[in-house]
Every structure is written in C-alpha cells, then in structure tokens.
C-alpha cells in the first residue's frame, strides 16, 4: 500500500476516526436505550459497592469524615471480636440446616405435585404463597406469635399433654424456629423442581420399571441424577439467600439477635454495627467478608459440578 492510498481522502494531519469512536458512533442508539440501566448500575450498585470497599479500610461514624485505618477493621474482626465469631457460627449453622431441609422439602412437594392431581394450579399457588409472604415483616411477626410461650404451637402441644417452652426466648430452640420459617418458604425452589421433574421423559421411568427398578431405585438412579442441574441451581440460589437472611431474625429477636446471640445472623450483626453503633467502616468490612464468603461458596459449588451435576448436552 502506498502513502498516497493511505492518506487518500483525508486532509494532511487529520487522522481517520479510531475503531472505538467508530463503534461508539454506530452503537450510540443502543447505549442510549441501555442508559437507564447503566446509570442505575454505576450510581446505585457499583459506585456504592466500591465506596463501601474503601470505607472498609477506614474508621467512619457518619458524622465525621472517614479516617483511613488500613486493614485494622479486618484484623479486629479476625482477632478481637467475639460477636463476629458468634454471628459466623449462627449463620453457618442456619445455612447448613435451612438450605438442605428447604431443598428436600421443596423436592418432596414437587414430586407429590408432579404425580398429576386435580386442581394442580390451585395447590401450586397455595404452596407458593409462603414464599411471597415469608420474607415480609408481617409473617415474621406472626412467627413470633406462633412460637411464643403462649403461642399456637404450644397450644397444640398442650392438647397432647406436652408443655412446650417459649421457643423464641430459649437459646436452645430460637434458631430452629427461624430454620422452620425458612423451610416453610419452599415455594420458589419447589416450582423450579417441578419444572425440572417435568423435563424428565416418562419413558425413562417406563424403561426402568420394565427393568424391575423399584420406585426408590428409580428416584435414586434416574430422578436425582437427571435433576442435578436443577438441584445445583437451587442450591446456589438458596445458599446465597440464606447467607443474606435478615428480616426474620431482626423481627423475631427484636433486632437484638438474642437470646444470648442465638439468632445473631451475620447481616443482623452487620446492621447493629452500622446503624446501632454507627461503625460504618467496620460494617463495610463485615459486608465485604460476607461477599467473599458467598463468592467462595458459589465458586466451590461451580467447581464441584463436574463431580455430581449431569448435563444432558
């Protein structure tokens, strides 16, 4: 290519537009349509997130300017904060109990609904309802009433001659009432399981029944393996949700995380530090540790898929 052709059509000293500028010009209408979401993402999500990352390295009480404190918040968390350990313990126990129980319950109900019954849409809606209501303040208040010393649960137990304790005031039981509340909100994973079960061709079960496989063997050898992509999806979503759980613990314990820190969820502790004691820098550090924990669990889940998740294609 000669110089003449290279500069052909362009004035001396003026460069042709760069690829980026050309691309921007061509795609401008697209970016304009995207702009509401982009503005929302940068201003309301990414900006505050990066701001909180910065604040996690500071001392900040909302009233005076943040003071840079290096990694002292993280060091304090790891070495000198007994409540951090307590919150971690409660949260991990809650996740470890509520997620498998909720998934198992959701799968059991989905299998029941998948057997083809009359009025299925009605049952499906009824079973899904708690998921819509469960995270609300009203249901948490109701839960508090149900499991109180003079609540409905103890009234029912009394019919059978059992004198129940005050479930939410007793540190031995309080967390489990929240686990039950979580399991009760099985609707969302149940609907996804139901969709997954519908995807399994009926002739797989017919072939297995001709082979003499019992219902239990069919469940273990066919249903569960073919459902693993759906189980994996539900596992990740529900684990993230469980780590982030806040409202039930806040309402049931009156925001204290009590009795004796037995319902001190990680997010509740974070809330106390931020809005109870105005330690915004420390609360930001707590938030980023939670992000790291959730990211770590999610990454581990994805890495484990090659050992147990069966994708058809």
């Amino acid at each position: 290519m000669t110089m003449e052709t290279a500069t052909n059509g362009w004035e001396e000293g003026r460069r042709p537009p760069s690829r980026f500028a050309e691309g921007l010009r061509r795609n401008l209408p697209g970016y304009l349509f995207l702009s509401p979401w982009l503005i929302g993402f940068f201003c309301l999500t990414l900006g505050p997130a990066l701001g909180s990352l910065y604040l996690s390295f500071t001392d900040y009480d909302l009233l005076s300017a943040p003071r840079f404190a290096g990694v002292s918040n993280y060091v304090h968390m790891a070495t000198a904060d007994p409540n951090f350990g307590a919150a971690m313990k409660v949260t991990f126990l809650y996740v470890a109990l509520s997620v498998p129980l909720k998934l198992a319950f959701a799968l059991a109900v989905a299998m029941m609904l998948n057997r083809g019954m009359r009025g299925l849409p009605v049952y499906r809606a009824i079973f899904y309802l708690p998921s819509l209501l469960g995270a609300s303040v009203a249901i948490a208040v109701l839960w508090r009433q149900l499991f109180a010393a003079d609540g409905l649960v103890n009234d029912l137990l009394w019919v059978f001659g059992i004198e129940g304790p005050s479930w939410i005031s007793n540190p031995n039981y309080s967390l489990y009432t929240l686990v039950i509340l979580s399991v009760w909100q099985f609707g969302s994973p149940m609907i996804i399981f139901l969709a997954g079960l519908r995807q399994i061709p009926a002739d797989m079960y017919e072939a297995a029944s001709i082979d003499g496989a019992s219902k239990r063997r069919q469940f273990v050898k066919i249903t569960l393996p073919l459902l693993t992509p759906v189980i994996f999806f539900n596992l990740v979503i529900q684990t993230i949700d469980a780590f982030k759980a806040f409202t039930p613990a806040f309402i049931v314990s009156g925001g204290s995380g009590g009795p004796i820190n037995s319902t001190l969820f990680y997010t509740l502790y974070l809330y106390q530090e931020a809005f109870g004691y105005f330690r915004m820098g420390y609360a930001s550090a707590l938030a980023w540790v939670l992000v790291a924990i959730i990211a770590g669990f999610t990454a581990l889940s994805f890495l484990s898929t090659k050992y147990w998740v069966h994708y058809d294609d």
Binding site: P201, D203, E206, S209, I210, D211, G212, K221
Partner: protein
C-alpha cells in the same frame, strides 16, 4: 425363549374413550408380529398393555398360558425398545446395558459377560464407555436394542424404534432387527405406522384401525387378499386404486367399461373396484380387460419403474406403476388394461368380495 401371547376380548378405555375394543389376537411362539395402522389406531396402546405399562380395562392377556393382566411389567418376561430409545443420559453405554441386570442383583461377572456379549452382537463394544449424547442416532438405537438383549427376555417389544432415524439408516436397522430375530428366535412384536417396514420384517402383520383388528395375516396374504378396503389401501405403495363400479346381471362396469373375467360375482348394485398400480398395464393389445383411456397428469421417473398419476374420463384418479423407463409425458392419453385375476371388488360397507364367490 419362544412364548405365545393370547389376547382375549381385550378392551382399553381412557375415561369414556374406548381406544381398544373387544380385541382377540393370538401371537404364536417365535413369530415376528407387526402391529401396523394409522396414528391413533391403538397399536402403541396395545403394545403397552402387553408390556404392562398400561392397565387392561377388560379382557385377558395370556403370556405363555399365564394370565398377566395384573403382573408387573418386570415380571412378564418382556423387554421393550422405545421410540425415543429411553437411554439414561447420565450413564455410560455399559451402565445403560447393565442397569436392568444390576436391578436383578445379578453377579458382576455375569453382568460383564452379558454386556460384552450383547455389545459384540450389536458391534458397539468400542462405544461401551461413552455417554448416549456422544452417540449417533443409529448407535443409540443399537444400545437400546442391546439393553433388551442383555435381559434375555422371552418376548421383545419394539415401539416404532426406527422412526427417529434417517431413511438410509432405517433400512439398515430394519435388516439388522430381522437378522436378530432369525438368530434369537424369540417372539417379537413390532409397532410401526410404516407399511413398508411391516411388509419387509413381519412373519405376520396385524392391521389395526379404531382399536380393532382389520386383518391379521402374512404380508403376502394381506397384499394379495385384503379383507377390506382399508387394508387394501393401507398395504402396498403406491396405494391401491379405487374406482366406483356398478354390478349388474351382465357383469361389472368400471370407468365406463364392462370388465370381463372378474371372479367375484356380486349382487347388482354399487361397488368399489380396486386394482394395484403395479397391476395396471399400458396398451390396448394383448389379453386382459380394458380399463379405457386415461390422461397422464404427472410422471415420476424412478429409473427402475415409472409412476404415472392419471385421471379417467369420469374424473377418477388412477395411478400406474410401469416397469422400466417409459417415454411418457404429462398430458399423454394412454389406453390401460389389467389382468382380471389381480382385481379386487369391495362391497359398499368396504368388505372384500371373495374372488371365488
């Protein structure tokens, strides 16, 4: 290995809908029986009732002389190959083949022996460690058949097993299934809507329509002596020509021509005259009966044969399969004739009139 199947007054209802009606059928030991019929005729339902995948509403199913109505599928001594193959996608071919044997709690050594033997028979040994998704349609079909063979069943059931394969592979697998039957000698029931598959594979064909047996017999019995107009039209490709006819004391008139030499002697009245396209001859000379002239609407040159789509002067369609390559063009008007021995005559209710009648 060779087990007879008897169906006695078998009925199947789904709610108020009767899909199989009072059906009687005997399937002899070692026979390759094909259930054939159009969509919705009940052929797959009948097979699934024999398999134990559908309950029997009324009547009796006897396998090897034993009433099997309430016996679970796994205890009927059957194996089934599904249209969709029904292979377990999360298991290797080896595990797919072994699944039923493991369910029977067979020893590992015996499982390995049977799986390897079946794989060798079907030439899929090199595929044993693969997953179904890594197999072609034909290979999947072989695995599905292999899963049946390893169980060493008394009866093989095939539910439209070749429908998902391309034409070439279908022909190849058809031959292989026939060879398998010759080698194993088991009773086999095969469901298809493809009459060519039925004609080429069956010892005996059962033609179904509306949940009832229209005719059961050998392929050539059905071809040469269809019991009714439905069977006559269903068996054979291109399908049999049907022309309006009138019977009188003097003889049978078809397409304005008096046909002499027809063996059937029906009572005077309206009839349907049937002649297969390959039995219609072109030309006015020679023996046989004249069908008059017909105008050619379309010509298909297949090389070995030429298919003509023609119309009679009365406006009725008449197809002709002529041997070899014919220099016939659309618009030609041809004289046609036939050998009366090949003619079929059907009463108004569709039943065939016996040639000896």
């Amino acid at each position: 290995m060779t087990t007879p199947i008897r169906l006695r007054n078998v009925t199947k209802r789904f709610g108020a809908v009767e899909v199989i009606r009072d059906l009687d059928l005997d399937i002899e030991p070692g026979q390759f029986t094909v259930f054939v019929g159009p969509s919705g005729c009940g052929k797959s339902t009948l097979l699934r009732m024999i398999a134990g995948l559908e309950t029997i509403s009324d009547g009796d199913l006897l396998i090897g002389g034993q009433r099997m109505n309430d016996t679970p599928a796994s205890k009927r001594g059957i194996a089934m190959v599904f249209q969709s193959y029904a292979l377990y996608p999360h298991m290797s071919v080896r595990k797919n083949l072994a699944f039923g044997l493991e369910t029977m709690r067979m020893s590992r050594a015996e499982i390995d022996r049977r799986v390897n033997a079946a794989a060798e028979t079907l030439q899929i040994t090199q595929l044993l460690e693969r997953r179904p998704k890594a197999l072609s349609g034909g290979q999947r079909q072989r695995v599905a058949i292999g899963r049946s063979i390893v169980r060493d069943p008394d009866i093989f059931l095939f539910d439209e097993p070749l429908s998902n394969l391309d034409a070439e592979l279908r022909v190849q697998m058809r031959v292989e299934i026939s060879k398998l039957h010759e080698r194993l000698g088991n009773t086999m029931i095969y469901v298809t809507h493809d009459q060519v598959e039925a004609m080429t594979m069956a010892d005996r064909i059962v033609v179904l329509k509306g949940g009832q047996v229209m005719q059961a017999g050998t392929p050539l019995e059905l071809y040469n002596s269809p019991a009714n107009r439905f069977v006559a039209g269903f068996i054979g490709s291109p399908k049999m020509n049907f022309l309006d006819a009138t019977a009188s004391e003097a003889g049978i008139d078809v397409a304005g021509q008096r046909l002499d030499g027809i063996a059937a002697r029906p009572a005077p009245g309206r009839l349907t005259f049937g002649i297969r396209p390959e039995h219609v001859e072109i030309g006015s000379g020679g023996g046989g009966a004249s069908l008059g002239e017909a105008r050619v609407d379309l010509v298909e040159h297949l090389g070995g044969t030429t298919v003509l789509y023609a119309v009679t002067p009365s406006g009725e369609s008449l197809n002709v399969v002529a041997p070899g390559q014919q220099g016939i063009r659309t618009g030609d008007v041809l004289p046609l004739r036939l050998d009366p021995a090949n003619a079929h005559v059907f009463a108004e209710d569709g039943s065939a009139l016996r040639r000896s009648a």
